[in-house]
């Protein structure tokens, strides 16, 4: 039997068309730039132009010849690992205390810890730069780590807090009722429930610290620039498609991270945070 449909008024149809037309357009706007960049990265021309001509891996090989880019990747990897570890080490216990604690001012403290997420990265970077100037603490990898961990910590704590608040306390009571001590309950019940939150927080810190420019631009030393800062210079002074090649690699990395996130946490959970 063929499906029967109710007739729709022309305004409903027009409204629907407008809505979905706009949605399609903005999805195009979201995705197209990445596609353009990927296309450019394979061009044989010596300057950026569209459409790309020919097909070559030349610009990818060119990356390997730029020693400062390779170094910058190393700097960024070190920074992002350090930032992630700091955020987890002090963020995880803080989230527990802020959700489960029983003391006065807990809510206010929670607001204090989470509030800096509205702070522009630039302001954090400048503030730490000024602060450091008083203590002979100069622009360095360490300063980037400090700035970025301050920048990322509120997000990490918030994601873990949200997850923690969603854990049913009776599960832990049930575990205790079944004979598990606190350590067993933490390891077997609390932690597995919390893991998506911890993973999301860690992934966020890792990616943000790797990509961040706004904080790093003010805190990085000119001799040990992270990748984002190096790229920033490159974009302004180099019109060759090498930046497109690096961007393509970053896009590929981002897609891998998205797939991992989809597998472990489920992308549907991301909007909640």
């Amino acid at each position: 039997m063929s499906a029967r449909r109710m007739p729709r008024s022309w305004s409903d149809v027009a409204g629907g068309l407008l809505l979905y037309g706009l949605a399609a357009f903005s999805l195009l706007v979201l995705v197209a730039p990445s596609l353009v960049v990927i296309g450019i990265s394979f061009t044989e021309k010596r300057y950026i132009s569209f459409p790309p001509e020919g097909f070559t891996f030349h610009w990818y090989w060119a990356i390997l010849e730029k020693q400062q880019l390779i170094d910058a990747v190393g700097v960024s990897v070190r920074i992002s690992l350090a930032v992630m570890l700091i955020c987890l080490a002090i963020g995880l216990p803080a989230a527990f205390s802020l959700v489960r604690g029983r003391y006065r001012g807990r809510t206010a403290l929670g607001a204090f810890v989470v509030a800096p997420q509205m702070m522009p990265g630039m302001v954090i970077g400048i503030a730490i730069l000024f602060f450091g100037s008083f203590f002979a603490f100069r622009q360095s990898e360490l300063m980037v780590v400090v700035g970025l961990s301050v920048f990322c910590l509120p997000f990490v704590v918030r994601v873990i807090m949200a997850r923690l608040a969603g854990i049913d306390v009776t599960l832990e009571e049930a575990s205790s009722n079944l004979g598990a001590d606190r350590a067993q309950t933490f390891r077997r019940i609390t932690l597995p429930q919390l893991l998506p939150g911890v993973l999301a927080g860690a992934a966020f810190a890792l990616i943000e610290a790797f990509d961040n420019l706004t904080v790093a631009l003010f805190t990085a030393s000119p001799r040990g620039r992270p990748l984002a800062v190096e790229l920033y210079q490159l974009v302004q002074f180099d019109s060759s498609p090498i930046v497109a090649a690096i961007s393509t690699l970053e896009i590929a990395l981002a897609l891998i991270v998205v797939l991992v996130l989809a597998r472990t946490i489920g992308l549907e959970r991301l909007p909640e945070k």
């Binding site: 049913d168 599960l171 049930a174 575990s175 009722n177 079944l178 004979g179 598990a180 077997r188």
Partner: protein, 350 residues
């Protein structure tokens, strides 16, 4: 006595939630804590499980004081209202959990979990996750997870709340049979009197942190100790009278013998009353007008405006094809078995 709760007090933020609760259970006995929400029944349960420490009083299991024993060292099984199944563990791992944390040998765990799942008729479900089960199945997993540890006492917090009405009835009977078969001393917390009466050997009616009466289901119904209990279990008419010289005069020449003096309430269960046509010369304790008729078939329920005694509810057994009294009819109400009427001294407390 297997489990003894004596004089337990619990205070939350200045409010005494439990006021000297005392309760004793024989081994293998099933008792319900029945009362409206906020009466303290769940608090008492949490004291028993060790999640709360009472300010006063003690809890003894087999003579040992366990009041200050942490929850994971008590042999008290608890089935949570929400079941609290671990969502990230399979049915097998949920049921095995207590044995695993006690570091039981793997082989023994497998064997005992298999037996436990068989007891609750969930043999094929070991590898499923809680979210993949129906409400009734989840409840059985929660139950198996609790009794596999062979606790001294099994506590069940409103275990049927999450089930739909149809399933609830079946599960109540199943659960009662299972608990009896296991011979486990059990306490049910519920606010549903049918559930309490179905499940338990004895029922403890709670109100405002006090256990009002602990008795067999029928004894609660027949000889309530207070108008609160009488009103909470089943439907009741209360009639206020004055007791003098060993009698309470109901009216129409009917007098009930009693030992008390002064104001009393007479408990008249609807099925202990009978509606009759008003007849010249035949005295009746109550007369009035029928204000509502509920023709249910086997029985007919009447509401009768009995003047000073207020509205009386009567459940009349109906003979086949017999007509009913119409709304607005003048009728007399008589008592079938005067000796079955409970007499409660004092003014109403409800």
């Amino acid at each position: 006595m297997h489990v003894v709760i004596s004089d337990v007090d619990k205070v939350f933020g200045g409010t005494r939630v439990l006021k000297g609760c005392t309760l004793g259970l024989e081994r293998g006995e099933v008792v319900s804590l029945l009362g409206p929400s906020g009466c303290g029944k769940t608090t008492l349960l949490r004291c028993l499980a060790g999640f709360l420490v009472p300010e006063r009083g003690e809890i003894r299991i087999d003579g040992t004081d366990v009041t200050l024993v942490p929850p994971n060292r008590r042999r008290v099984g608890l089935v949570f209202q929400s079941y609290a199944l671990f969502p990230h563990l399979s049915v097998f791992d949920n049921v095995a959990y207590g044995l695993t944390v006690r570091r039981c040998p793997r082989r023994e765990i497998a064997e005992r979990v298999r037996e436990a799942l068989a007891l609750v008729a969930l043999e094929g479900f070991a590898e499923r996750f809680p979210a993949q089960l129906s409400g009734g199945q989840q409840q059985r997993v929660a139950l198996a997870r609790a009794f596999i540890l062979e606790p001294e006492i099994l506590l069940l917090d409103e275990p049927f709340n999450a089930l739909d009405a149809k399933l609830r009835g079946t599960m109540q009977v199943e659960l009662r049979k299972l608990v009896k078969r296991l011979g486990m001393t059990s306490i049910f917390v519920t606010h549903d009197q049918t559930e309490a009466l179905t499940l338990s050997d004895r029922v403890a009616v709670m109100r405002d942190g006090i256990i009002q009466q602990l008795d067999h289901p029928l004894a609660l119904y027949d000889t309530p100790s207070s108008d609160y209990v009488a009103g909470f279990i089943g439907t009741t008419n209360f009639v206020r009278r004055e007791a003098r010289e060993g009698h309470v005069a109901l009216g129409g020449g009917l007098a009930l013998p009693t030992a008390v003096q002064g104001p009393v309430q007479v408990v008249l269960r609807p099925e202990n009353l009978r509606v009759r046509a008003v007849r010249e010369g035949a005295a009746a304790p109550f007369t009035g007008k029928v204000t509502f008729v509920r023709p249910l078939g086997a029985t007919v329920e009447y509401e009768i405006d009995a003047g000073a005694d207020g509205t009386l509810r009567v459940v009349d057994l109906r003979e086949a094809l017999a007509p009913t009294f119409a709304e607005g009819a003048d009728v007399a109400v008589v008592v079938r078995k005067p000796e079955a009427c409970a007499i409660l001294p004092g003014e109403p407390t409800r």
